[in-house]
């Protein structure tokens, strides 16, 4: 089960991921990111404090936009991941390509 909440703040948008991202619902995550890109957002925060699990399909979504973000000068910062989910990002090497912070304050510094 995955629930995605989008909250717009003054200089950034926060994607709040609640639950688990797997092959069956990674499309929803993909759609929300596309929507944010199309609406011209430059600063995207991903709140992962309530993200329980992410499968390779979910990681594939984040991975597929890395180049687009660089081209369009969009900064995406993930924060608040629990240890297990963070390890998944780290093992794959995505922590070297995506900024991952432990809390919102640190994440806000990056944008």
């Amino acid at each position: 089960m995955l629930k995605i909440e989008t909250t717009k703040e003054s200089n950034h948008v926060t994607l709040h991921l609640i639950g688990e991202v797997d092959a069956s619902n990674s499309v929803e995550l993909d759609e929300s990111i596309i929507a944010l890109m199309e609406s011209g957002e430059k600063n995207i925060l991903v709140d992962g404090t309530e993200l329980q699990y992410i499968s390779s399909a979910g990681l594939g979504v984040f991975m597929s936009y890395i180049e687009d973000f660089q081209e369009k000068n969009i900064s995406l910062v993930i924060y608040g991941l629990n240890e297990r989910v963070y390890q998944v990002f780290r093992i794959l090497g995505l922590d070297q390509l995506i900024i991952i912070k432990s809390n919102k304050e640190d994440a806000l510094q990056e944008i």
Partner: protein, 687 residues
């Protein structure tokens, strides 16, 4: 065994009947000759009576046989048979009369022997006609027979049989006993004549024909009866054959039944179209309820449905609107109306109550009908019936009539029954097609599974210094896990394990690409780091944007007892060190293949070399194993894997692999199905 020859009763009885008639003629002529010439021939009249009874029985047997044998012929053919016999008998009788009229007062005209001959001919034909008609009526009376009717008929037949022998008692004179017997038989016959169940089954046209035939039979029997009476008036010199109780009863019976049939058929004429209509409806219903065979078109059922609805309500124009999968409405089966007219009427219908109440979306259109008036110059009433298949409204039937209030309750009932039945047929047809399709997909998937299983190696390369054992299980029919080995000359072995992102069929395709990449690159004997860089470059062109592959690549040297390894985003390999009696995950950085699809990738991959000794174990696995969850949603995890290896370190590679999988299954419990692919490669150094 003595065997009876197969006797043809029809032919034999006919032959015997003719011979009996000839002997009767001979006996009577001989007697008459004697009387005329005042000679006592000494032939008792009883001989004639016996021959007459025999003749009756033979004719009766003959017709009984021949009508039973033509059981398949319809009612009209049967009645025609009776009528044609009547025509022949009457013609013969008229011919004889004309013959005598032409003879005038000549000597020949008053010759008693010739007269007697013609009397016998007439007698024979009257008998043929009456017996054939009687057996015909028998066939009609016993249509849709009940036991009671059969018993009645048998009683009547016995009565007729007795009446044949009555002649021995009263010598064909009209006394009271004769009249009594006659009235009993005629009342009996009249009682049987109420069995007229065959009439409703005739069509309108057939009824007219049968009325004609029945009139012929009536005229024939009336004429012949008058003829018989005239004979009995002038019969004195010869033996009276025709004032027979049997014959006169048959006259009565044949005449009464033909009158009854005639009247009932006549009064049935106006309602026969209704009966025909009901019959057509029943047949249509049966046609609609026969499910469509696969390969046939559901259009055929809709075609029958249109015809049935139109004929059930005497509709003047109709069309069927069907929604296709995209939601477009197409008009099919348009009847007695052109496109332009239809469009105008459709617009009127859409704006008229109650038709405007219809909506496609709701799922309660089942069994609904819309009947109402129209403000159109031509069509005054309309009926719209939604077609509902599997709770989904798939189309509508429009029926139009030029009269006001053209649809009564019976019509709407029968039409909605038709529609319901047709919808069930279409639904069954669609379900069947779906089932067939699913079955085909399943087969395709099984083929994919077989192909993919064959991608995993059945044999792993090794030498005497180490054991190696692999295991792989896919969550879906096809999986995305991959492992393989390759011998690189003496003492060197390449080992790879990989996991393709995503699940199922797409993962399986990417896995087969990975296998191709491995087999190409391993020929070049690259170092693990080089392998990953080249594999990344190759896969960057193959993988979809959001897909990646994680892998660990090992090059084992059994001579120097070292292994080099690199990791590309894959979960770290577990290494059991026998000397320390502990296992640890090999730490090394490395990014998954396909994530960075350019030269920069080189920055993100490293290589290490490690020495090993006897008793050391390498556990290569995919993340499905450590991420497997139990029913409390807790993962199996890296620690638990480590403990398991420490516990069973002394086992052989294959036993250790089994133990790990057992522990894993014990942990997740039997109730949970694997939701990821599990792969495991155990390498144990023994020399």
């Amino acid at each position: 065994m003595f065997k009876l020859p197969n006797l043809n009763i029809g032919k034999i009885s006919l032959l015997v009947a003719i011979m009996t008639w000839l002997s009767l003629l001979f006996v009577d002529i001989t007697r008459l000759f004697g009387t005329v010439n005042q000679m006592e021939s000494g032939i008792a009249p009883e001989i004639s009576y016996i021959l007459q009874v025999l003749f009756f029985i033979m004719v009766y047997l003959f017709y009984n046989y021949s009508i039973n044998n033509s059981e398949k012929s319809n009612f009209l053919d049967l009645i025609w048979r009776g009528a044609s016999t009547g025509i022949v008998a009457t013609s013969v009788s008229i011919f004889i009369s004309i013959f005598y009229y032409l003879l005038g007062d000549s000597r020949l005209a008053s010759d008693p022997i010739l007269r007697n001959f013609f009397y016998h001919v007439d007698f024979a034909f009257i008998t043929l006609f009456l017996v054939s008609c009687t057996l015909l009526w028998k066939h009609l009376i016993l249509y849709q027979r009940t036991k009671r009717v059969v018993n009645q008929w048998q009683g009547f037949e016995i009565g007729l049989l007795i009446s044949m022998f009555f002649v021995f008692f009263n010598q064909n004179t009209l006394d009271y006993s004769f009249l009594f017997g006659l009235s009993v038989l005629i009342i009996f016959g009249a009682a049987l004549s109420v069995n007229l169940k065959w009439i409703p089954y005739l069509t309108f046209k057939e009824k007219w024909k049968s009325i004609l035939f029945l009139v012929i039979i009536q005229i024939s029997s009336a004429y012949l009866f008058v003829q018989v009476l005239s004979y009995s008036g002038s019969i004195t010199p010869y033996l009276n054959l025709t004032d027979n109780l049997f014959l006169l009863s048959l006259f009565g019976f044949v005449f009464i039944y033909s009158i009854f049939s005639f009247l009932v058929t006549l009064f049935n004429l106006p309602t026969s179209s209704v009966f025909e209509q009901k019959l057509v409806e029943a047949i249509n219903f049966q046609r609609l309820s026969q499910s469509i065979k696969p390969g046939e078109n559901e259009n055929q059922v809709l075609d029958i449905l249109m015809d049935s609805c139109m004929s059930a309500a005497y509709v003047d124009a109709a069309w069927l609107e069907l929604k296709d999968t995209e939601g477009n409405k197409n008009i099919i089966h348009q009847r007695f109306i052109n496109n332009k007219e239809r469009k105008i009427v459709q617009e009127i219908i859409q704006d008229t109550k109650p038709f405007s109440d219809f909506t496609w979306e709701i799922n309660t259109n089942d069994n609904k009908t819309y009947v109402g008036k129209l403000q159109d110059f031509k069509y005054k009433s309309a009926m719209v019936i939604p077609l509902v298949v599997n709770k989904d409204t798939v189309g509508r039937i429009f029926l139009l009539k030029e009269v006001k209030d053209g649809f009564n309750k019976e019509m709407t009932n029968i039409i909605s029954t038709f529609v319901g039945q047709a919808c069930i047929s279409v639904e069954n047809y669609r379900l069947l097609n779906e089932a067939i399709k699913n079955e085909r997909y399943k087969e395709e998937l099984q083929i994919a599974q077989r192909v993919q299983r064959s991608l995993l190696p059945s044999m792993l390369h090794k030498d005497s210094t180490f054991q190696i054992h692999g295991f792989s299980e896919a969550a879906d029919e096809v999986g995305g896990d991959y492992y393989e080995t390759q011998a690189l000359g003496d003492n060197q072995f390449a080992i790879i394990i990989g996991d393709v992102s995503g699940k199922g069929t797409s993962a399986a395709f990417n896995m087969s690409q990975m296998k191709g990449v491995f087999h190409s690159l391993v020929q070049l004997n690259p170092s693990p780091r080089d392998f990953l860089i080249k594999a990344n470059a190759a896969l960057s062109h193959c993988l979809e944007k959001n897909h990646f592959i994680t892998t660990s690549y090992f090059v084992l040297n059994t001579k120097t007892k070292t292994f080099k390894y690199s990791r590309a985003g894959h979960c770290p390999t577990l290494f059991f060190n026998a000397e320390k009696n502990n296992s640890e995950y090999l730490s090394i950085d490395g990014m998954g293949l396909g994530i960075v699809r350019n030269k920069l990738y080189e920055k993100y991959v490293q290589e290490k070399e490690v020495g090993y000794s006897i008793g050391d174990i390498l556990i290569l696995f995919t993340d499905g194993i450590v991420e497997a969850k139990n029913d409390q949603n807790e993962e199996f995890g890296y620690e638990r894997l480590k403990k398991t290896v420490n516990k069973y370190k002394d086992l052989n590679a294959d036993q250790l692999q089994q133990k790990i999988i057992e522990e894993l299954y014990d942990y997740i419990g039997k109730s949970t199905l694997p939701d990821d692919d599990y792969s495991l490669l155990v390498i144990k150094f023994i020399q």
